[in-house]
């Protein structure tokens, strides 16, 4: 099911996220890859699960294969597709393939740079940027490829995009967001946000676009992890008081505290956005608690 259908119904849309395994899916169909097991844990609590595309430019199982596996297991995937590893032929071909294999939602992104990953000498492609990718995808929905040739059996998927409310200058980020909407983006998932004021300021500037926004949550596992993100993950900032808060409890109580921090944040911002995108980084078991804290009814 397309996420846009849920947004239209006024549902508060909850999505999770899994990263495909570094390896192939077993030929023995009774053996699930770990990403599918994580997705199954999320299944009862979220509307859909994002499947990342060589996230952080680390080579893994293809996002499409993992997405199809989720779909087979009855979980709605949000297939992520980036411009880093594919030129315009491959991007269009993969979009048509994804639709042909039953994918209803695709998140269209630029992708992390090769230098951040495990194949630093690879050739970065970036034939298109994310705005051009969305525009091209819209063409496939209308029956044309990027060269203007007619295609048969148009694809019909919901197109998602990303935006970073932490960006400075924010107006420049919003300029690009507007271009994505004009190009055909139908909903947004944001980069991880931890500061309510930052998110409110962002929403004030973009509510005029009338495009659904899911606030992004990366759960905090430890003070070390938070500091690592502040140092190494660009465009994300964990405030010092939250780092202290997660560090204030013993290790065995971290999951509970983490769920509380994330849940509290979602509770504060849920009235100004249309959904939440939770990136649990393996701690899928605390997602129900986050939603409980936030006062969001399970699916």
């Amino acid at each position: 099911m397309k996420l846009t259908t849920l947004f239209e119904k006024g549902e508060f849309v909850v999505t999770g996220e899994v990263g495909p395994i570094k390896g192939a899916i077993h030929r023995d169909k009774s053996i699930e890859p770990s990403c599918a097991i994580e997705a199954l844990q999320l299944h009862q609590h979220v509307h859909a699960v994002n499947v990342t595309d060589n996230q952080s430019a680390v080579m893994r199982l293809g996002s499409l294969a993992a997405s199809v596996r989720l779909k087979t297991n009855g979980i709605e995937p949000v297939y992520q597709l980036t411009c880093r590893d594919r030129n315009r032929l491959a991007l269009q071909s993969d979009l048509l393939t994804a639709y042909s294999l039953g994918i209803d939602n695709v998140l269209l992104l630029t992708g992390d740079h090769i230098q951040l990953g495990d194949h630093k000498e690879a050739k970065p492609v970036f034939d298109l940027d994310s705005v051009q990718l969305i525009d091209m995808a819209k063409g496939l929905k209308r029956g044309y490829d990027i060269s203007g040739s007619r295609i048969e059996n148009y694809l019909d998927m919901a197109f998602g995009a990303v935006v970073n409310p932490n960006s400075d200058p924010l107006d420049l980020q919003i300029m690009k967001m507007k271009k994505k909407i004009d190009a055909g983006a139908q909903f947004f998932q944001t980069q991880a946000v931890y500061d309510v004021t930052v998110f409110e300021k962002f929403i004030k500037k973009v509510e005029k676009f009338n495009c659904p926004i899911q606030v992004g949550i990366v759960i905090l596992k430890s003070p070390q992890m938070a500091r690592f993100m502040n140092k190494n993950v660009s465009g994300v900032h964990v405030p010092e008081d939250l780092i202290e808060e997660i560090g204030s409890v013993a290790k065995e109580d971290r999951k509970k505290k983490s769920a509380e921090i994330a849940g509290r944040f979602v509770k504060e911002v849920k009235s100004i956005c249309q959904g939440v995108h939770i990136m649990p980084l393996g701690w899928t078991d605390i997602v129900p608690d986050i939603l409980e804290y936030a006062g969001i009814k399970h699916k």
């Binding site: 630029t110 051009q132 980020q173 465009g235």
Partner: protein
């Protein structure tokens, strides 16, 4: 200018065979400015090779300072006439210049054996006597009209044409924190110029066929023709 940096000397001599007589050729324009192949470096290279037991047939840097090695007619005259005997005696040429210069020596010597002595790293602006910075990627499809003259193909690590990724941190690029985010540079410049409106329009995908290799240019005082896989484009400079 074509920015060049000398290859490590061990790498250079590794490719020279026992008994091979080498003629060293520098460039008095770009490589001179890069201290990779001017007169001083060319003479020095001859000495460095001799010190390592390599026979040097001769050396030269064609023309006065400012003259490019890649001007074929001049380089041919200098090598085949001014240095005729030394060149005849040489088995190969070590070029201290860019890749265009290497090919110019092949042409000038009617197919002589060449060794590149430099890596050609980029086309750049000579910001000062000691600093060269890359501002153009030579893509053949210039789109900087809408970006205040700053090229996102060059200044943005992901070559994004419609605005920044979300990864800049304190104005710096997520790929290289030593570098400013190219899109923030563009934004600040247009803001200063009062032309942020230029950022609103959608920038379509690049015509990569103009970036095909190899490309050529036929020039005359009145018109020029650019040839690439995308076809031939002739432009007049007269009206």
């Amino acid at each position: 200018m074509h920015a060049t940096i000398q290859k490590p000397i061990d790498e250079i001599i590794k490719h020279i065979q026992p008994g091979e007589k080498v003629f060293v050729v520098g460039c008095n324009n770009c490589a001179w400015k890069c201290y990779s192949g001017g007169e001083a470096e060319t003479e020095m290279m001859a000495k460095r090779l001799e010190k390592r037991g390599i026979e040097v047939a001769g050396y030269t840097v064609p023309g006065p300072q400012g003259m490019s090695l890649c001007k074929l007619s001049h380089t041919r005259k200098v090598l085949l006439e001014d240095h005729a005997d030394e060149v005849k005696n040489a088995d190969s040429f070590l070029i201290l210049g860019c890749g265009q210069g290497v090919h110019t020596v092949i042409d000038a010597t009617d197919g002589g054996m060449v060794h590149p002595g430099c890596d050609t790293v980029f086309g750049g602006e000579t910001v000062s006597d000691t600093h060269i910075e890359e501002y153009c990627s030579l893509c053949g499809d210039c789109i900087i009209e809408n970006t205040g003259g700053l090229c996102p193909m060059t200044l943005c690590a992901k070559q994004l044409l419609n605005g920044p990724c979300g990864g800049a941190e304190d104005g710096h690029c997520e790929v290289d924190p030593e570098r400013p985010c190219g899109w923030i540079l563009i934004y600040e410049r247009l803001k200063k110029l009062g032309r942020l409106d230029l950022l609103d329009s959608y920038q379509p995908p690049k015509k990569n066929s103009k970036w095909s290799r190899p490309r050529s240019l036929e020039v005359s005082p009145t018109e020029a023709t650019f040839c690439s896989i995308s076809g031939k484009v002739t432009i007049s400079n007269q009206d």
